[in-house]
Homo-oligomer: 118 residues x 2
Amino acid sequence: MKSHPSGESFSLKGRFWIEGPQGAFLGHGRIRLLERIREHGSISAAAKSLKMSYRRAWMLVDAINRQCAKPLVITSTGGKGGGGAILTENGQRAIQQYWEVSRRFEEFLQSENAHWSF
Amino acid sequence: MKSHPSGESFSLKGRFWIEGPQGAFLGHGRIRLLERIREHGSISAAAKSLKMSYRRAWMLVDAINRQCAKPLVITSTGGKGGGGAILTENGQRAIQQYWEVSRRFEEFLQSENAHWSF
């Protein structure tokens, strides 16, 4: 590889998200919510751990599920703020795929950095 | 390539920018400003064409130039809003490099799309 002495000060940064049939589908924030639901077993506990309102968390989960052939999260009965929630196999796979893309995305950004010098 | 019938509805989206030694260096907005400076030959005309204040455009150019060994834009004398501005060779190269990265970035996003199905 060629040497780019002044290129070390410049780096490529970026963000990504997955767009679904109805707009935003999965980004970093929603993946974090799904991971917390997996961890806590309920939407309300997940929301609380993220200092997010239950209403907002529920709406995000609903926005995710509505765009999929198979839901990513299944909730069991219970009143507002009650009941449990689990990640489906599809949900587990979505989280895994997200982090795999994230790794390749970071690799892409890294691979571009050698090109920069101004 | 494998067929992913339900994957067509999902696509990877993203944005990128170049971070310099003092933070944000070049993103889509700044590149557009540089291109307008090249086109119009002055910061004030470039700013006007983007419905941006002269002050803001000047500060963006200053923020860009301060981070480089060689400036991307050189201004000739003239009062506030007067004088001319030209892109240096380094400035021309920055625009070209930005769009080359942009093309590879879009290619990366496209290359990931086949992986998605939910």
